[in-house]
């Protein structure tokens, strides 16, 4: 049997440090989309608390912490990031393995909001988009998931096939913000 070598989506492209912001790749671990069956939302949330210590997040919100997080991922869909899903979750929801299907990066630093303001059509200022808030939106025509994971840190996800474009767009925006400082 051939030995396969895992290759991260942004290999050779990251990390980057430009001006006051850094961009790095996150090894997110196992990604699982959780889509609750009709009427099973409450039972699923209880099961998630019992299995992974966090409730199902409300729309535009996340639960959990770094390394083990549940983020709202669209209508009727939550993405579990980090651990393999406990089998009990499958009683209440459709679970789909999404590992390696998404490029996950972390943008951090004093100008992070200014960088993202060049790419996203939503308000990411700290008063509007607090730690633990998440959004599905578009980043330069790519479907993206944005989560504030720190005071000046964001997790950005796009489809793995778009990793190079994501890094290119973020790098251009980071250079633009740095040049104006």
């Amino acid at each position: 049997m051939a030995e396969l070598i895992a290759r991260p989506p942004c290999q050779g492209l990251l990390p980057l440090e430009i001006g006051t912001t850094t961009l790095s790749e996150t090894d997110a671990g196992v990604l699982t989309s959780i889509m609750p069956f009709k009427g099973q939302e409450a039972a699923l949330s209880e099961a998630l608390i019992a299995a992974h210590g966090m409730a199902m997040p409300a729309a535009n919100r996340t639960t959990g912490r770094a390394g083990i997080r549940a983020i709202w991922f669209g209508r009727g869909q939550v993405l579990l990031i980090g651990p393999s899903p406990h089998e009990a979750l499958a009683w209440y929801a459709a679970l789909t393995d999404q590992s390696d299907a998404w490029a996950v990066v972390r943008l951090e630093g004093a100008g992070a909001v200014d960088v993202l303001a060049r790419l996203l059509p939503i308000d990411l200022r700290a008063t509007q988009f607090k730690r633990g808030h998440t959004a599905r939106t578009e980043l330069m025509h790519m479907m993206a998931s944005i989560t504030r994971v720190g005071d000046q840190a964001f997790q950005i996800m796009v489809f793995r096939s778009m990793a190079t474009t994501l890094v290119h767009d973020l790098k251009t925006a980071m250079e633009g913000v740095a040049a104006r400082r």
Binding site: P121, R136, A144
Partner: protein, 91 residues
Amino acid sequence: MRITCPFCGERDRREFYYQGAAVALERPVADAGEEAWDAYVHLRDNPAGVTKDLWYHESGCSSWIVVTRNTVTHEILDCTLACDTKSEVSI
């Protein structure tokens, strides 16, 4: 143009895909007759004023949204989930 998604809040038009008039929510019964089905499949109004469209929040939460808007003033009057609207329509 800004559309208020019931889940995501007010978002830019670029996040949405336009499907067309919201006729899919008023599908005739199978034996409604040729005239009703002809109108459902082929005939569309082109109102100068209030109209209802289906929009898909493609880059956002993937909801189908019924948007009531005014084609003259470009005012958005109402945005509701298509799944909620559909359940109210007798089929």
